[in-house]
Symmetry: C2
Subunit: 372 residues, 2 copies
């Protein structure tokens, strides 16, 4: 099952002609999940190889404009490109902090934006420790006073599961998705997408030797059931299956100057990919933290604590031009951010990648485990 | 006094990589007024020669997303580029339909967007005839339930002046600005920017002959006062002033399938420039009108009725690629839209211009009138 991740915007604070505002797409077999949606994301999507119409779920890490202002327009444009004759359009599920439901209801409502598909906003209830007090939204601000959008379906309100320090978003056939708490100027979340383990491949040579023919027996063995042959011989699935294929794990952090509680570390342990912001270089660490942001060294510390395979940095200050536009003599080199993270991870084997707009990172299937 | 107009987006419905969503800037001596602000306008501004920080006033023709979704982000980015040490920052005045105040309060409020400068939203109260009933916003939708933004100043609520069928927005030293009603799927407005007439130049040769020396006498004559010479000779301003320089008039229409009432025609009479939407070609007139839009022929009819100098078309369906990207065999040619308007204005001498993103149109000073 192919899986990849495409960055649509890697800049912080605002979109610019050389770096879009935050947005990335996680794709698995054509299904696209969008993480954050800064202004201009729909245009970035058009420039990419992805199709906006394939977006089935949206995740908003926090309500800052550079992660959110593109969402109403994106939904409108997806709707414009939807065939009105199509029946039973799927509901687009949108996950994000409390206040997101009101934001969409007002922006879509006041602009008379009709959508051809239903949508639901599932709100994560932040805790008080996720931001300074002035970053918390009053209940008055998030009260859903105006009428529901005609296409709005009731969404869930998701509270912190204190026992695991995480938020359970949903589980489907392929994935279980949870969120965890981050500290930022306003409440921010990270998302952990955990693919289910899958049974290994059937050892077809061995099955042939044992006299099992392709057909129903194959299916039952693959599903983990034992099979009794006509001669009475019982074949156990673990005899004829290669090791389980462990599910991949992708973790995407929202803006933060630190994790909060144990949730992030517990969930992100051993991730294939950890996407973390690095707004400013380590030499600006104090300024970064003041603004609720991280440096490459701080991102590396999280990657190290979680023993991840690969750390991807994004959300760069607009002062860092993409490598391709870098000119000799430019002071702020984005490649220096990569060096800083690499230095901090020297002894770990963690691979460091700088995201750029339109970079696609394949996420290869894991190797089967040696035991079942 | 130099004056020009720059188009930042000329596409309808949504922004695309080849046409931004609606936005244009009218500039006079460095001061920039922004008309409409679709998603991505701030990025288009960065690509242009204009500076977002010079925007002092914003006018929103109607609340459709392709004219509005870029405004919260634009305000945030202007603020980020404002020097926080600067004192007495001017208030940004924002004019638009009822509902705009609530839209900004919610989008800026929920995203924790702090602004360094004050802003005020002056709302135009639409009348029921400006749209079908389903396009009208209920009072419930526009009720300003959530708290004021810390930088929000009280704005005016402007009602239709029935005697002139127009809305008086403001008058300053250089201009008087009014709005007029249009018919669209939701209430839409056009704006008329009328420059004040200015006194003509002093006839310096004649003044020399009359023995008037440069100095205070010049100032008083220019200001329209008579001057008495030492020899008792009274010099009247009209003797020594060239004809008045008539003020320029620029009219910018929001989306519409027709004007409403007499306001538009009364206000736009003799305009130097009339900017009008032409979403689809004349062959799609029925579809255009169904969607509340105009064709080149319809725009031309307005230009003809108003006896304008120049008609500028914009807000093209994204099916029309810019001329520069047109390929042989492309079916929808934007140049055909120009031909259609020109055909309809054949006998009038009205100049027709197709707007493209980043096109700047100078608006030359008018010739002095022959009489004072
Ligand atoms: Zn951010
Ligand atoms: Zn943020
Ligand atoms: Zn429009
Ligand atoms: Zn419209």
């Amino acid at each position: 099952m192919t899986m990849d991740m495409t960055f649509l915007g890697t800049g912080s604070a605002y979109p610019s002609p050389h770096r879009g505002a935050s947005a990335l797409v996680l794709r698995s077999e054509g299904d696209c999940w969008l993480f954050d949606c800064g202004e201009g994301t729909q245009t970035q999507l058009m420039k990419s190889q992805l199709r906006a119409g394939r977006i089935t779920k949206v995740f908003i890490s926090h309500l800052h404009g550079d992660h959110l202002f593109g969402l109403p327009g994106l939904l409108c444009t997806v709707s414009l490109n939807t065939n009105p004759e199509q029946e039973n359009l799927n509901c687009v599920d949108i996950y994000g902090p409390r206040g997101l439901r009101h934001f969409l209801r007002v922006t879509l409502g006041l602009t008379g934006s009709q959508l051809l598909f239903p949508y639901a906003v599932h709100e994560l209830e932040p805790t008080a420790e996720q931001s300074p007090e002035e970053g918390q939204l009053s209940l008055e601000m998030t009260a859903e006073s105006c009428p529901l959008h005609p296409q709005e379906q009731p969404g869930r309100t998701i509270s912190l599961d204190v026992s695991t320090d995480s938020y359970f978003l949903f589980e489907d056939k392929k994935f279980v998705v949870k969120a965890f708490r981050l500290f930022h100027r306003i409440p921010s979340f990270g998302f952990c997408i955990q693919e289910h383990d899958r049974p290994g491949r059937l050892k077809t040579e061995l099955l042939k030797e044992l006299g099992v023919k392709p057909g129903p027996h194959y299916g039952r063995l693959k599903a983990g059931e034992a099979v009794t042959m006509e001669n009475g011989r019982v074949i156990l699935p673990q005899e004829v299956l290669e090791g389980n294929i462990p599910g991949r794990k992708v973790c995407i952090f929202g803006d933060c100057s630190s994790v909060l509680g144990d949730g992030a570390l517990l969930l992100c342990k051993g991730a294939d990919i950890l996407v973390h912001e690095a707004t400013l270089g380590d030499e600006h660490r104090e300024k970064a933290v003041d603004h609720g942001h991280s440096t490459p060294g701080m991102a590396a510390a999280v990657a190290r604590a979680c023993c991840v395979q690969r750390l991807v940095l994004y959300h760069f200050s607009q002062r860092y031009k993409p490598c391709s536009l870098q000119k000799e003599g430019d002071e702020d080199e984005v490649s220096e951010l990569k060096r800083q993270a690499e230095d901090a991870l020297q002894d770990t084997g963690v691979e460091v990648t700088l995201a750029e707009d339109f970079l696609t990172i394949p996420i290869p299937v894991r190797r089967p485990s040696t035991t079942n």
